[in-house]
C-alpha cells in the first residue's frame, strides 16, 4: 500500500500508519499534525496529507537537539505560532486559563498513571503488563478527563487486589512504539509478568509533568524538552540509560525484553549500549525484532528459553 510513497525500509509502524491513512480509515479527521521525531514518520505524514488532504495540517518543529540551551525558547516560540494557527482555524481564542486547566488535567492523568505503575512494584503486581498496555493506549486516544475518571476507579479497585496468578520472572519491556498486546499476553502466559516498560507509547509518554509556571507555553515546552528522551534525541549526554537502569532497580526487574521495531535505526543503534549497560548491571536481555505482524510461535520459543535462563540464575 505504501510502497509507491515511502521507502520499504522505513519502519513498519509508520508504513502501517500511512497505509491506514491512505485507506481512508481516518476519514473522520478534520486535522492532522506531527511533531518532529524521525524521518520515517515525518515522511509518512507528508505523504498522508498530500494524498488525503485534511482541513488543518501542521508540522511542528520540535528541536532535535533537545540538550541545546536554546531548545526551550525555540519550542516556546513554535508553540506560539501553533497556538495562533489553531485559534485562526477554530475561530476560538485560547487564553492562559484554558491552558492552565488543560495542564491540570494532563498532569493529573500523568500522576494517576505513575500511581498505577507504582502498584506494579509490589511482589504480586495487581495488574498485568498486557492490561497496563491497554490503559496506556487508551490514554493516548480518549479524552483525558474521562481517562482520569476511569483511572481513579481502577486504582481504587487495585489498591487491595491480589491477583491469583503466578508472577514468575519480573520483566521490563523497552523499545519504541509498541501496542502489541498479543505479544504481552503470550509472554505473561509463559511464567512471567511485565512490571515496567520504557516505550515511547508507554511510560515515556507520561513520565514527567508540566510545571505550572507563569508562562504556560514555556512550561509545556520545558516539559517536552526535559522528558525522558527517545534515542534520536538522547545526545550528547546519554540520559535514557541511567533512567532505564533506575527503573530496573526500583521495579526489581529480573530480565529485559528489548522490542526492536524493524528498520528503526535510532533504537537499533541505542540497543548496543543499552544491552551492555544492563548486562554490566547483571540484568539479562532478550532482543526481538518485530514487524507489524509478530511471528508469535518463533518469539514464544525465544521468550521461554530466556525465562528458563533467568530461572536458572535464581538458583544461585
Amino acid at each position: 500500500m505504501t510502497e509507491p510513497h515511502i521507502f520499504g525500509m522505513f519502519c513498519p509502524f509508520c508504513r502501517d500508519c500511512l497505509a491506514q491513512g491512505l485507506k481512508n480509515r481516518y476519514d473522520y479527521l478534520d486535522g492532522l499534525m506531527i511533531a518532529q521525531s524521525c524521518l520515517h514518520i515525518r515522511q509518512a505524514y507528508t505523504s498522508w496529507i498530500k494524498h488525503r488532504p485534511v482541513e488543518f495540517d501542521k508540522f511542528l518543529c520540535m528541536p532535535h537537539k533537545v540538550q541545546s540551551p536554546h531548545a526551550y525558547e525555540f519550542l516556546t516560540e513554535e508553540y506560539k505560532v501553533f497556538k495562533n494557527e489553531i485559534e485562526e482555524w477554530t475561530g476560538k481564542k485560547i487564553n492562559d486559563k484554558d491552558l492552565e486547566n488543560s495542564i491540570k488535567i494532563y498532569n493529573e492523568n500523568r500522576r494517576l498513571m505513575r500511581e498505577l505503575y507504582n502498584l506494579r512494584k509490589r511482589d504480586n503486581p495487581p495488574i498485568t503488563g498486557e492490561e497496563v498496555m491497554e490503559i496506556v493506549i487508551a490514554m493516548q486516544m480518549m479524552d483525558k478527563a474521562e481517562h482520569n475518571k476511569m483511572l481513579k476507579e481502577i486504582l481504587t479497585k487495585l489498591k487491595n487486589h491480589t491477583p491469583d496468578r503466578q508472577v514468575g520472572s519480573r520483566l521490563m519491556i523497552l523499545g519504541s512504539e509498541d501496542d502489541d498486546t498479543v505479544f504481552m499476553n503470550m509472554v505473561e502466559n509463559c511464567g512471567a509478568t511485565f512490571v515496567i516498560d520504557d516505550h515511547c507509547t508507554g511510560s515515556r509518554y507520561f513520565w514527567n509533568e508540566v510545571e505550572n509556571g507563569k508562562d504556560k507555553l514555556a512550561s509545556i515546552a520545558a516539559r517536552y524538552i526535559d522528558r525522558i528522551p527517545c534515542p534520536s534525541k538522547d545526545w550528547e549526554e546519554r540520559k535514557r540509560i541511567p533512567h532505564i537502569l533506575n527503573l530496573c532497580k526500583e521495579w526489581n526487574v529480573d530480565g529485559v525484553i528489548i522490542m526492536q521495531q524493524k528498520f528503526c535505526d535510532p533504537h537499533e543503534l541505542d540497543f548496543v549500549a543499552i544491552k551492555k549497560a544492563l548486562e554490566d548491571a547483571g540484568i539479562p536481555t532478550l532482543f526481538l525484532e518485530f514487524d507489524v505482524t509478530v511471528p508469535i510461535g518463533q518469539f514464544k520459543i525465544r521468550v521461554e528459553a530466556f525465562l528458563e535462563m533467568i530461572g536458572e540464575e535464581d538458583l544461585f
Binding site: Q298, I301, E304, E308, M309, E312, E313, F316
Partner: protein, 260 residues
C-alpha cells in the same frame, strides 16, 4: 536390587522427531529418529515405541518424560517441557563439561547457545525470520538439483574449488546454482558452495567463544560442514557422538533431574 529406572527425552523438531531413553548413569539405552509427517501424534508414538523396543523396556519403567522442540506441547504423555535452547546446552555440556558455544543446525532453525564453565546458559541467538543457513536450505538445493539429500555430502567432498554463492536466500541461491551449472560449473563445486553458504550464515550470527560444539541433524549427515566451519572459524570444532540426538538427550537429562 532395585529395578532399573529410565528417563526419556523427546525432541519434536521441525523435520524429525528424536527420542532418547537414558538410565540413571546418563547412558543412552534406546533412541529413535522419525521423519515428521502430517500425523504428528502417530509419528511421535512410533518413535517412542521404537526407542522403547531398542532399550528393551516397557513404558512403565520410564520415570519421567521431558519434551522439547517446536512441537514440544504436542506430546500428550509428557511429564515436563523444556525449550530446545536449554536442552541442547544441557546435552552438549554433558559431553563437553566446560565453557562452550553450541552451534545447532536444525531443520528450520539454527541456534547459537553459550554456556559458562558450569553449563549455565549465558546467552543465545536464533535465526530470525529466515531459514537460510538451516537444513531446509540444503533440502531445497538438493530438491532443485534432483539429487537425493543423503548424497549431497559425498558429492561436495569431491570438490577442490573455493567458490561462493551471491545470496543466502534459498530461492535466489538455487536459481544461481542452476544458472552456474548451465554455464559450466561442476555440480560438486556448486553443492560445496551451498555448504559454505550455511557456514557463513552461522558465523555471522554471533561471535564464537570457548570450545565450539556442533550439533543437529544437518551435521550428522553432512560432516563437510564441520570441516568448512573449522577452516573458516580457524578453531577446532567438537561434535558429540550422534549430534542429531543432543536435544532429546538434554531433555532426557532434564527428565532425570526432575525426578532426582
Amino acid at each position: 536390587m532395585a529395578e532399573e529406572v529410565f528417563y526419556a527425552g523427546i525432541d519434536v523438531g521441525t523435520s524429525y522427531i528424536k527420542v532418547v531413553i537414558i538410565n540413571r548413569k546418563n547412558e543412552i539405552k534406546g533412541y529413535y529418529v522419525e521423519r515428521l509427517s502430517s500425523d504428528l501424534q502417530k509419528s511421535i508414538n512410533i518413535a517412542f515405541k521404537k526407542a522403547l523396543d531398542m532399550a528393551n523396556i516397557s513404558k512403565s519403567l520410564i520415570n519421567h518424560i521431558t519434551s522439547t522442540g517446536f512441537g514440544r506441547e504436542n506430546i500428550s504423555f509428557k511429564d515436563g517441557v523444556k525449550t530446545e535452547i536449554s536442552c541442547h546446552a544441557k546435552g552438549a555440556f554433558n559431553y563437553f563439561p566446560k565453557k562452550i558455544t553450541v552451534i545447532d543446525i536444525g531443520g528450520q532453525d539454527t541456534k547459537i547457545i553459550k554456556t559458562d564453565k558450569e553449563g549455565k546458559i549465558i546467552g543465545f541467538k536464533m535465526n530470525r525470520k529466515c531459514a537460510a543457513g538451516t537444513g531446509s536450505f540444503l533440502e531445497e538445493i538438493a530438491f532443485k538439483l534432483n539429487i537425493p539429500l543423503n548424497k549431497i555430502n559425498a558429492i561436495a567432498l569431491k570438490s577442490n574449488k573455493d567458490t561462493s554463492l551471491g545470496s543466502y536466500c534459498t530461492v535466489f541461491a538455487s536459481t544461481e546454482i542452476l544458472t552456474r551449472i548451465k554455464e559450466g560449473e561442476k555440480v560438486e563445486d556448486m553443492i560445496k558452495s551451498a555448504f559454505e553458504s550455511v557456514v557463513k550464515r552461522v558465523i555471522e550470527m554471533d561471535t564464537l567463544e570457548g570450545n565450539i560444539v556442533l550439533t543437529g541433524g544437518v551435521i550428522k549427515y553432512n560432516n563437510l560442514i564441520l570441516k568448512i566451519l573449522e577452516k573458516r572459524a580457524k578453531v577446532k570444532i567438537y561434535t558429540p557422538p550422534n549430534p542429531q540426538l543432543i536435544g532429546a538427550y538434554g531433555a532426557a537429562l532434564f527428565a532425570k533431574e526432575a525426578k532426582d
